[in-house]
Symmetry: C2
Subunit: 421 residues, 2 copies
């Protein structure tokens, strides 16, 4: 029986709508790769009773609980108090932790507030876990039949302690059943259509399990398999993927979890092309998404954010007459922008975007969501228009970026427009 | 007693590390604004037993459960089956929902796969909630003493159904205790130092509750108060904020939840200044974050992403000799980039960034994280360097963007560098 794990995130800022819990997802993927089955995430606020009840229940269900948050120096950080209460005893003071906290602060030339001392107190039976990248030490403590790891909520501190302490501690747990995952990236069909095509793979209880997720215009087929060893889990996934591939061949455009910009950089490296962007409505989003990818500098010549007409003229050489005749949101202007960018950056390939992201600026002829694209390459310049549904400014801009990645990955060849938006 | 609500998100993609649950945070903020107390988020996978157990437990604790996900057309969508099981009866078919699904697909010229029919089946006693923006209808069903709303997992569909059905249904619930929130944005002190300054406000059980959150170099003091009426809750928050303000005056730089780019656009509009960016290591991030803000076009002249040296010369007029003498990552080059951008975009203010975001490219003299900045304005050009901790490429670029917003909001005046990174 695979050991069952649950993940907890603690903090009023998470439950009362200020911040998004990103830790749980990260922790779950790490635990699952190590062979545990993550069954549930729970997010609670700083109110101690809520955390206490949730942990007490979970300790009856799961073998491992990983808790993030509530270890800071201030009075609204209560994870250590709650775990002391559940262990039925007072907190105890760990002098080495306090020394370490002081050293960390002094090293950075910061004052040492007395309140940081709170972070050196631990529940009965807890084993402190030193924090090399912040002031909040974590700890490990048993709760009924479950082992609890309490980690700081700051993501990079959590990640460090997880890698350094939690994962090594799991290495010799009994019953670990390693899992492997595969992802097939799909462009074209609706979710229902894809689901029908691979329906026989999606029955409950199948191992490897096969599921479909829709996100940002793309569908992903997710294959999750387990095995007695990592190799067995990998082999099980490979076998399922080998059966799936021919069924979805016409729509399959990539495998793996790489984000589109990563696939784009890889594609450009492989084809030895450099790219530039002339962005109006996407406003730097194409450039910044590409530059997010390590190694992008090898393929990215540069970009111009020509949001205003004056900038389109001055930096991309778009003729004023063209702007006057067709308006900034037009295929001729997009084509001139792409051609201008290709010439100025002396690159192989340039894309231009110009459109109406909203909320204002729409007209009857060009409603919000109208975006014109152009691609300039060795063969010339090609411009086209996509009417993106007006589902908000961010949606329109994201969808416009997606359109460029799509065209770029297809090498400019015509492909069916995705039916999912 | 304020009615207690819990929020559920269902989907293997959420728990097995592929996607982030953003729905729960959105739903919680809407429910809390309406006067409910959201006590917990739970995320479970597609495995029916996990959802069943979690819902059964929660129905004994909470008056309202909002569930998102698991209403799609494929076999891994099982929310309706689980709720039928909990209600102890079979699913029933709702012809009007099926008509609506077909109409929605046909209107968009899409095929109508038989599998979409699954979405027209409902648990015993459920009241279907039509979906005007997708194929998955939601529904409302009673479970013990709790009311359950099941909504689709696609965020824009969920948001629509929440606004249209859930929130109106809550309007006359007994015992609602409206809450109000305030946010004080803090730049300068460490979390512990700030915590000491306002410690007396942070005691458990205080209403309005006061808490501190650290995120991206900023601290936020969050004030959450409740009252018999929305006005009473607002007044309680205002009273607490009035007491807090003088205690943190030297560090307070904004109030509210506006993101920094929104504050920047507001600041530029108020001071009637236009800005341009010359970006190397931030690679379009400054431009794209600013353009994310509706109305940015009034203050944003444009940007150049001059990632390669050739682009720095061709588009910003950075002299080749300067690049050769000082290297691309240097204050003189940053200064030339800013001056070039200000001239080319004919604007009031230009910022330049050039640095080493990593993972490669660091040297002993200029390690990864070294970022040079320059600001060109009516008074001339000022350049400076910030050694950003090498905590990953994304961290370095985000922190560099933050540095520009910070300088811009302070109007170029010297301020203490934030001690939180």
């Amino acid at each position: 029986m695979t050991p069952r794990a649950e993940v907890f995130a603690v903090g009023d800022e998470l439950i009362h709508g200020a911040n998004l819990d990103t830790n749980s997802k990260y922790i779950a993927s790490q635990l699952e790769a190590a062979g545990l089955h993550v069954a549930r995430f729970t997010v609670v606020g700083d109110e101690p009773a809520a955390l206490r009840d949730a942990l007490a229940e979970a300790s009856r269900r799961a073998a491992l609980l990983v808790v993030t948050g509530g270890l800071g120096p201030t009075l609204d950080d209560r994870t250590r108090d709650v775990l002391a209460e559940l262990r039925g005893g007072p907190l105890w003071f760990h002098e080495p932790s306090w020394q370490q906290i002081q050293a960390w602060l002094r090293q950075r030339g910061r004052p040492v507030p007395e309140s940081n001392r709170r972070q050196a107190w631990f529940p009965p039976g807890a084993v402190p876990v030193p924090n090399p990248v912040g002031t909040a030490p974590g700890f490990r403590v048993e709760l009924g039949a479950a082992t609890v790891f309490a980690l700081p909520g700051v993501p990079r501190e959590m990640q460090q302690l997880l890698a350094q302490t939690v994962l090594p501690a799991l290495a010799d747990w009994p019953g670990l059943r390693p899992i492997a995952q595969r992802w097939l990236r799909i462009l074209g069909p609706s979710e229902a259509l894809l689901g029908e095509r691979i329906e026989s793979f999606m029955l409950p209880g199948r191992d490897p399990a096969v599921g479909i997720t829709a996100s940002g215009g793309l569908l992903t087929i997710r294959v999750v398999g387990s095995g007695a060893s990592p190799a067995a889990a990998e082999a099980a996934c490979d076998a399922t993927v080998a059966e799936l591939r021919p069924r979805v061949a016409e729509w399959l455009f990539a495998e793996g979890t790489q984000e589109l910009p990563e696939l784009v950089v890889e594609h450009l490296r492989r084809t030895r092309l450099t790219v530039a962007f002339a962005e109006s409505c996407t406003g730097g989003l194409l450039a910044s998404r590409l530059v997010d990818v390590p190694g992008a500098s090898a393929v990215f010549a540069g970009g111009v954010v020509a949001y205003a007409n004056a900038a389109k003229q001055a930096l991309l050489g778009v003729p004023e007459a063209l702007l006057a005749a067709h308006g900034a949101v037009s295929e001729p202007v997009a084509a001139a922008m792409a051609a201008g960018a290709k010439a100025r950056f002396a690159c192989d390939l340039a894309y231009a975007t110009t459109g109406i992201a909203g909320p204002d600026g729409g007209t009857e002829a060009k409603p919000v969501g109208t975006v014109c694209f152009a691609r300039a390459d060795a063969k010339g310049v090609h411009a086209w228009t996509v009417p993106i549904p007006d589902l908000g400014r961010t949606f329109v801009r994201d969808r416009a970026v997606f359109e460029v990645w799509r065209d770029l990955l297809r090498g400019g060849r015509a492909v069916p427009s995705p039916s999912t938006v």
